[in-house]
Subunit: 142 residues, 2 copies
DNA sequence: TCAACAGTTTAGAATTATTATAATGTAGTT
DNA sequence: AACTACATTATAATAATTCTAAACTGTTGA
């Protein structure tokens, strides 16, 4: 994660116009140390803080979906009531903290390879993902 | 799954009034061979077919959530755009057919026990669930 | 048996998240 | 600078879910 990636070039490469809104979104999404997990609301908040002018909600939705289509973002299902997105687009497992509603990525070494015995005829496996729900262990809490 | 379980008694046991709507819902949900996975829409459709009078949408939502709170139903997250519910309330894994949007339960023997190496300090694991997304293997199809 | 009460259902309004629309603005090209 | 295709915007529309308050019903105990 270099400090100042050339997002303009990156956007051009996949055929998206490097408009200021898209470059701004790239900065917010990818100019960080770790994977970023967010809801549209999180993102809107961060963008409004960062930018001088306001950004339209429709643009945030459109751009997130454009990024998703181009493989820059992945949608994650942990809560049927909210859409979460992930800047880590590879197949990977998650911990979900039920206290803070935060997602945490697992890497290869965190969970042993999943062995699936069941076959469904005529169907191929597209992905295998594990969700580990965690919560505070503290008795006094909650 | 007996043919005509005494749902009235079952409802009383957990402190729910055995109103005709709830008994009717029990029949639709639990009077079947296999686990039932459904969306609110699926359920409304089935109930309207089965019942002579119409049932209010609010009642379906209220009753599903009452059942959920009592541990009769479990909400499943596979698609952030829709709520799925499951009559199998135990911890279990799923296959999700991306062609038909159907959920299929796994049993113990289908997936080897998941070994989690990562520990998060101060947090305990509440559940570990695997989602296997499958789709048609047929080249000609889609 | 039946009135009284608490809990339940209901239709419709309200809220929330998301998508569609159509006018205006802008990046890239000449 | 001007042209054009694509993007952004405000706003309207849609869809899922929840709220509200009035009408209704299962239960209880007189
Ligand atoms: Mn989506
Ligand atoms: Mn829910
Ligand atoms: Zn992730
Ligand atoms: Zn299930």
């Amino acid at each position: 994660m270099p400090k100042n990636c050339n997002f303009i070039e990156k956007l051009r490469e996949v055929g998206l116009r490097p408009t200021k809104q898209r470059v701004e979104m790239c900065e917010v999404l990818y100019n960080r140390e770790k994977t970023f997990h967010f809801t549209i609301n999180d993102l809107v908040k961060l963008l409004s803080e960062k930018m001088n002018q306001k950004i339209s909600l429709a643009t945030v939705y459109n751009t997130v979906h454009a990024f998703e289509k181009k493989g820059y973002l992945k949608e994650i299902s942990i809560d049927s009531h909210k859409s979460y997105f992930d800047t880590n687009t590879s197949a990977h497992h998650h911990f979900f903290d039920e206290d803070t509603h935060e997602l945490i990525d697992c890497d290869e070494s965190d969970i042993d390879k999943i062995n699936i015995r069941k076959k469904i005829t005529g169907k191929k496996i597209n992905s295998v993902e594990v969700l580990v729900r965690v919560a505070s262990d503290n008795q006094t809490q909650k």
